[in-house]
Every structure is written in C-alpha cells, then in structure tokens.
Symmetry: D2
Subunit: 268 residues, 4 copies
C-alpha cells in the first residue's frame, strides 16, 4: 500500500492573513478593480496577464458561447433547480455536465487538429496541410471538428466576427489561416453548405493565444457557466421547469400508448 511520496505543489494561489496571491499576483492590489473576468480567466489558464489585444480576443471567445437560448443544458439546470432549490450550484453543475463531446468537444477537436498539424515536422503550408487533413478525416469517415451547423448556414455569423477581431488585434496567424483553408477544402465539391462554425473559430483562436487544446473545452465550460446562472435567474422570476416536466411526463405515459400504457404484465 505504500508508495513513493511525491510533493504536492501548485502555483495557482496562496494566502496569508493579510494577502491573497493569484499566480503570484496580489489579488487586492493587482486584480480586483483592475482585471475583468475574462482577463482573470486568461491569467488562470495561462499564468500570464493579457495585454489589451489578448484581452479583447480572449473575452470575445468567452462571450460567444455564453448564451444560445433554450439549450439542453439550460433545460437541465432549470429542472434540477426545481428539484433542489437549496442548491443553485448543483443546478449549474448539472447543466455543465452536458457540455460534452456533442456540443463542446468540437472546440477541443478543432484546436487539437490545428495544433497537431503545425507541430508535425516538415516544410508545409496551410493549403497542403488542409488538403491532407480533409482527406484524412474523410478516409476515416469522421466529420471534421469545427465545420457545419444545423441552423447557422450557409455561414455561422459568429465566425466572421471572431476572425475579424483576431485580425484587428494582430492574432489572426497560421491557425486561423489553416482553419480557413480546411473550411475551403471541405466545402469544395459539396452542394450543401459546410460553414466554419463558432467552435471551429474558437479552436483556432485558442491556438493563436497559446491555450492548450486540452483546455479548450474549458473555454466553453466557463462561458456556459455564466449562461446557466443567467437562465436560473430568469427561472427564479419566471419558472417554466415544471411545465416542461409535466408535458413530457404526460406524453411519455399516455395510457393509450402501446409502449407506456400496456396493462399490467404478469409476474412469472
């Protein structure tokens, strides 16, 4: 049962009676009243304070995924709050549990795809890399992360806006270039639109800012935590969770339904 003890160390923060340090900065002197919440997220995730250009790009990424109306996660948080109003934090947590592969994983996947491509040794240009990436995903029968949207087409309006801001702030480099090239190659020859969606743009900008692809899903999680608190604030004044539940239950258990409404089965 014994094991070699390793030290437990962290540079995130520490406190003394009269001071609190965050990544080595003084919370009271350097952070409160100076940094906005997006800058603070940048400090937490990178260990560095953002300059004004990084701040604008990073805040733009963060606000993009906060609110998208009545998503599954928003419905989840409202239903949990109905059952456990003593525990608003668990209602937000339950909603966040849904920010997985289906909705948030594509930002991670896009960031990883772009990061790995440029890490591969060799003299390569974006166009060549894009061509190969598109071919590889198609050969494996996989969809390319960051492309396509069931509602926002032929273009996802968030993508152009994010890339414009990155351009304005000097952060539209080779990852943006590669994402655009992948989008172009993937669209070529298709009749239906395959836009670069918001998670594709966010994946590219994470790479531009030096955020690890492993943490890219965290961007979506932070944004959505803000949005879910917003939905719960609305639910407190205008509750709809009970109605969602009752309608769903009523339909799922209709007595005349051959699945739900069969009479009593015989226990053997």
């Amino acid at each position: 049962m014994d094991h070699d003890r390793k030290p437990i160390r962290s540079g995130m923060g520490r406190s003394t009676p009269d001071r609190i340090f965050v990544q080595g900065f003084d919370l009271v002197e350097d952070v409160i009243g100076t940094l906005n919440l997006g800058d603070m997220a940048y400090l937490e995730m990178t260990g560095r304070l953002p300059d004004s250009r990084q701040s604008r790009v990073f805040n733009a990424i963060l606000v993009t995924l906060v609110e998208h109306g009545m998503t599954p996660m928003a419905i989840v948080s409202r239903l949990v709050y109905l059952g456990a109003p003593e525990s608003l934090q668990a209602a937000v947590a339950a909603g966040l549990c849904g920010m997985g592969t289906t909705f948030a994983g594509t930002a991670e996947g896009a960031a990883r795809m772009l990061h790995d491509a440029w890490e591969t040794p060799g003299d390569q240009d974006a166009d060549t890399l894009a061509r190969r990436i598109v071919a590889d995903f198609r050969a494996r029968g996989q969809s390319i992360p960051g492309l396509g949207h069931n509602l926002h087409k032929p273009q996802d309006p968030r993508t152009a806006r994010l890339f414009t801001i990155a351009e304005q702030e000097g952060h539209a480099g080779r990852y943006v270039e590669l994402m655009l090239a992948i989008g172009a190659h993937a669209q070529a020859g298709l009749s239906k639109p395959l836009p670069i969606n918001a998670t594709g743009a966010i994946g590219a900008l994470c790479c531009e800012l030096g955020i690890s692809w492993k943490a890219a899903r965290g961007i979506a999680v932070i944004g959505r935590a803000v949005g879910l608190v917003g939905h719960l604030a609305e639910e407190q004044g205008n509750p709809i969770a009970r109605e969602i539940w009752q309608r769903t239950e009523a339909e799922a258990s209709r007595q005349d339904d051959p699945i739900a409404g069969n009479g009593r089965r015989e226990a053997p």
Copy 2:
C-alpha cells in the same frame, strides 16, 4: 395526468440562421468584441448592459472569488479529472457542487439579510437596523452571514478593496452602509476579531447593483467555474491528484489501525 398547459417562454436568447440574439441584443453586432465576460454575466443576470461604473464594480465582485488556492473544490475537480479525463466539464461540475452553504451560502445570506432589512417598512436608519439584526441573530444562536474568517483577520483585505471600488464608482449606498454597521455592532464587545469577509462585501455589492439575493450564490459559482478550469489546466501539466488520493488511502487503511485494520469479522 392532464394539467393546464402554460406557455413556455424565455427572453434569454433566440437564433435565426444568420443572427443570434441575447436578451434582445445582437450577439455579433453588440456583444462579441464589445463586452468582456463580466459585462456579459451582468447582461445575463439582469437583462441590462452595464455602464462603465457598474462594469467595474461587477467585474471586481466576480474576480474576487475565482481563486483561493487549493480549496476543497479545486481538489475535487482534480480528483474527478483523474478518473474521467474524457470529461473535463464533469470535473468542473463536481467542484462546483461543493460551492454550497459552507463557502458560497454566506454571500447569499448576507445579500438576503441586507435586502430584507431595507425592505421592512418603517423609518429606519442603518445603525438601528444593524443593532436589531445583530441582536436577532445572537438570540437565535446563529452566526451572522458575511462576518468572520479563519485566516483573514483582523481584516479581510478583499473587503476594504471592494468597498473602495464601490465608493469610487458611486455604488456604495445604503447596503454597504448597513453591512459596515452590522460589522461594527457585531464586533463591539468581542475580544477576537470578526471582520466583514469577502462574501459579506459581495453580498452588499450585489444589493447595490440590483442583483437578487436569490441569485447571489451564482456570482460565486461563476467565479469558481473560472478558477476550477484554471486548476485543471495546471493539473494537465503538473498532476497531483493521484498523490493526494494515494496518501489519503494509505493513511485511512493502515492495517495497524483499530478502525480500518481490524481482522476479518465473522459473518453470522
């Protein structure tokens, strides 16, 4: 099983193929590149855009609770990530589940106490209200929310900073006044220090900004979501969860311990 159907309505957001609305504002035109994440949180929670003074105060509140070192929630998120690295969102969610009564409930409690006091009809001043509030909590044997800290004493350095910023921005009104009066009355006659802590200051500033006390816990949840993503980013590069687990397990299950290490009990 039937029920009276009520409409399901929400003003949080809606989308068309080429536009996304957030509380009636256009995400692409009005939000991305314009609002920082704290401003977005203000919009989500109040339905209004903050002016520059509200923005500074609200962002100050939000960044205050992001990072406090190796808290129980940070340990939780790291341990969950060890078990489910495919699911960063669930690691953040698990940590947030711990932002309950013990750590975040006091911001809610302080906001409620201050809100309710000024709502009570009658010609009253802060000093009179404070005197009665302190007496009432003591009579019920309850601790007063927003007061006291086991480390940050005799003063919590975050409190003075937050109240200074509120003063600078014209948001130090009757709720700040009442919180200060409660702190003074509670301290009077005590030999050990009972500072107004950060959650007390945050509760007061929520009231000043018109945030409902019911949603005040959400401020702590948003901030801590940012912090937990930060801890997971550190854990990805510098993992410590396994060491925390193994040390705890080794000590808890020592064979020579009369609780853990008793030999096999006889099944009847």
Copy 3:
C-alpha cells in the same frame, strides 16, 4: 497556515494484494454471491449485516423510489447524455443533483421529525406527540414532511404496502405508530385528502431500522441512481432527449412572442 494534524481514518474498506475488506468483512468470501445489492447498502450505511427481516424491509424501502416514470431527474439524465454520450456517469450524476429538497428532502424531514420526537425526554405517547407536532408545523406555516401527494390520493398505495411489510417482519414499532398518528391528526378536519406518502413511510422505516435521519436522503439517492441508469439504457435504444429539447426551444423562442421575439434592442 499550519494546523493541528488529525488522523485520517476510515473503517469502510481496505485492500491487500489478495483480499478486499468491506467494513471488516471479506468481499470475496462473505459478500459476492451472498449479499444482494440492498443488503450491501445496509452494510455500507450501518456497518452491520442485515438479518433476513431487516433485509426484506430495507430492500422494500430501496426499490420504492427507483422508478416513477418521466420525472425531472429522468429528463435531466437523458438531456445530459445527449450532450455528453462519452460520460454516462455524469448523466446519472446530473439527474441525482435534482434529488433535493423538493423530492427527496421529505424522507429526510420525516425521519428527523419522528426521530426528534421520541428523543425528547418525557413520558409521552404517540398520540400526544402527534398532536403537538401537527400543531407546531401549522403554527409555523410549514407543511408536514411525509404528508400529501398531488397524484396519489386519497391514499398513496406504496405507504400501506411498506407498513404491511414492516408489520410482517416485526419492524413496525413506535416510529410507524407516530407517523400514522401524525397522518390522522393532520387529516382531521380537512376536506381534501392528505395521505401519508411514500417518503413519509420511508422516513418512518429508516428510523425503525436505525438509519440516521441525516442519511435518509441517501436512500432516495441510491434508488434513483438505479432508476436513472434504467432510463439511460432506454434512451440508448429509443432516444427522446433531442425531441424534448427541440420542442422546448421552439416554443421558448417563438418570434411572435413579446418576450422572446422582440426585435433587436438598441445598445446604448
């Protein structure tokens, strides 16, 4: 930052290379193949193996709350699974977060009410205690835990069954007696039915079996974890989460709705 170190001890379980102990019993010799899952839960929660009568009563309690159709928690688990199919565990977890005050807290509340009543010193009988408890709750304007149901009336069919089983197994003692007396006093003089519901019966039987009221909510959590895995197994073969989401979203964001569908607001 230093603190007085206390030992970290637990009697729950420990392992050696060739053996695993659970509460001192040998998992392989005494548990696997011998205990059913309900007996194992009894061992975990009490540290004792149940006799056959305790086993029947405890398993009866546990199975009662497993399945109640399309509850809010079942909807939650299905929606989270839609977003994070890689993480079935988080889908169950999210649903469990909703087992709070509204749905599971009443079992805890009933157990506490019954436990505290018999702990109060004095020569008292169930009828006298019940009369006072009903009067006290009414004076405080609180509803009595374990009474009332919006669907199952005038009687909750689970209650009679649970009390019958307790009777058969010799576990219908003073807590059952008191719960029945409370039900009778609370009903007296009311025109609408106020049955003892399943959580009231479960609260009483927890007390009969020596389960702490503080852990009574855990009974509901265990049962519902089983039920939520069942719902996810059905969702895997017959998915309905997307339909629930899309209907809710479509209605919540109708363009002709004065809340959701207002045109673009003017940013100041």
Copy 4:
C-alpha cells in the same frame, strides 16, 4: 426553427392515482417486498424480471464495485459534503462524475470487446478470437480492457469468485470463455502478472446476462452510488474531509516553495 415532431414515448413507468407501474409491473403488488434492489436494477436495465440464477449473478456483479476503500470518488464526495452539507445528493453526484474512463470505462471496454468479437461473422472459436484480439490491441499500442491491476496481483480475487458463481448458476458461457482465453494469451510471454481484473469479469458477465455494453458502465455507477452514500454516512459521524483539505492546501502553498511561494510578481 420548426422541426418534424416525433412522439415522446417511454415504457419505464407510469402512474395513476392508485397504481404505479414499472416496466408494466405493478410496483406495489409485484415489486415492493418481493424484489431486492439488484433484481430491481435488472428489471430497469433489461425490462425483464430475473430468475433466481440471473438474480444471483447480477447481484454479485453489482456488489463487487460498491466499496474499495478511500478511492478518489470517496474523497470527492466527502469534500463536496463539507462544502454543501445541505445537498447530500450533490456530494454523491460529484463522486460519480469520477467513475469515468480510468476506473469504470474498462468494464464497458471489456464488454464491448467480447460482444463485438462474437458478433463478427465467421466460424470462430474463443482461442482464435482471443489470439487476434490480443494481437490487435498490441499492434495499436493499447492496453486490453479488463486486464491488469496495480494492487491485486498475480490474481484479482474477485475474478475467480465471479466466474465461479456464473458457473454455479449456468451463466459461464462463451463470453467468460473468451475473456479467459484473452487473459491467457495476453499473459503468455510476459514476466509480470497481468490478471483478469474485476472489471474484466464484470464485462464478461454483463454479456452473459444480455446487458448491452453501452450500459455496462451503469453497473459500476449503481454500485458506486451505494458506496458513496456509505462513505457520507461515515463522514457524518467521523468527518475527515477538512483534514484532507487542510493538509493538501498547507503543502501546496508552502511559502518556501519555488512554485507556490514566490513573492509578488510585478504586474506590467
């Protein structure tokens, strides 16, 4: 925004004022007092009542993963309970979030491996299949699910017990045969022990009982929910979460540590 409406249907359960149906069985007549919790889980996951042999095998699987001492999930649940004692359900939920790929995914992976192998068309025997499976995993550089344990070696004592019970009850068929063959081929030529671990045995027995591999992770989730409620019941009487937290925090934020304890960094 419109979509083709599909029906929302479920066969899990429905209620009328005087009856509750679970998968078509009457909860009061057929379930409470008759089924133990493991049988109920079988009904929920398969839609069928188990016979006595299925009941013994399935309960054996379920109890196996309930308790393994101070696991990461047990620590998580205790820490969350420290922060949110009002919300025992969220403490269990947080712990369950950690039952992911690292700890529970191997039962799922083993079940899938065994299921897929026998589904592949062709006249094949277990030995041939096992040889190819081992070779395939090795060629991909992946570890084989269900094999290996860092503590329980050279044998995992749970495995032999589970296979013996399956044999006794007539449920040791081709999936057990294949798992044993995979274990033998994987061990051949290795000097260090590579036992079939408990999750490998559970994966095989899920297949024998007709449980879908997609739901196999649910077995681990149900068992661990029971175990985490047990740990919280112990924590209520013998709290250790605060000590785990304080030790970890004290070490992680040592002032003399070059990572944590650096002086204040200069904000630019």
